[in-house]
Symmetry: C2
Subunit: 150 residues, 2 copies
């Protein structure tokens, strides 16, 4: 992740999500009410997707209840779409923020042929898989279509 480049709206911290430095706009799948949804750069877990909150906050309990409910509706919808597209046997949901505190949800489909099906996804050493542009476009389109159908 690159260094932060701009001031956060409250002028006290910088944030790569607020500045648009991360995620790569080319990876955007769809824009929803509370979040923008991106394909993760590393597709070792096929379908690994990130939902980035459109305003700056770092903890669930900082959100107004209607906003949090809408956020979790979007997380659920994208999880359902990914489960369908990738025939996931389990979805992994994680809101960590140890590198970038701005709220972003990782959704990681775990498949029947998973290399380490009982392990947390972050424990599995692997070389990142970066899709070639045509494959990435294809994956973005498939996920976008599935989200829009729900």
């Amino acid at each position: 992740m690159s260094q932060n480049k701009v001031k956060h709206p409250n002028n006290t911290i910088t944030c790569d999500a607020c500045s648009g430095v991360w995620p790569d706009p080319e990876n955007q799948i769809v824009e929803l009410t509370q979040t923008k949804v991106y394909l993760h750069d590393d597709q070792y877990f096929a379908g690994w997707t990130v939902l980035v909150l459109k305003h700056h906050a770092t903890e669930l309990f900082q959100l107004a209840e209607p906003d949090r409910n809408q956020l979790m509706q979007e997380v659920s919808t994208v999880a359902a779409a990914l489960t369908e597209v990738f025939s996931a046997v389990k979805m992994n949901y994680a809101l960590l923020g140890n590198l970038l505190p701005h709220i972003h949800w990782h959704l990681i489909p775990r498949m029947a042929n998973d290399p380490a099906p009982r392990d947390p996804p972050f424990n599995i050493a692997h070389a990142p898989i970066h899709l070639i542009p045509s494959k990435k476009t294809e994956r973005l389109t498939i996920i976008r279509t599935a989200i829009q159908k729900i």
Copy 2:
């Protein structure tokens, strides 16, 4: 985690959470509307807490919207309490289910003196820290009080 001992209500799968085999009832902090809240057996991350859904479901998108909203309200409340009690600089929220699919949220406070502050909590090799009974009782009480105040 021990082997499952009882049938899940739909009689097709077994579930250690439904049977009460896990978590240890002695670790219960509080019972809320949608979840029971337990101190995790491993307190390497002080305050590591688990919220277990009181009925069997494995994915967020299987829940009725009011139930999901209430679940996330409880996750948020417990996260706020843990942040206060442990002066966490970041809360980590994870719903994985790779070992036990029954919905259970891990809430892991990350502190200023964290041994690996930028890493996911599941990546950090460590010997588990099991509290002696008096320390466990003290921690359960402190967290319970903080939850009840919110």
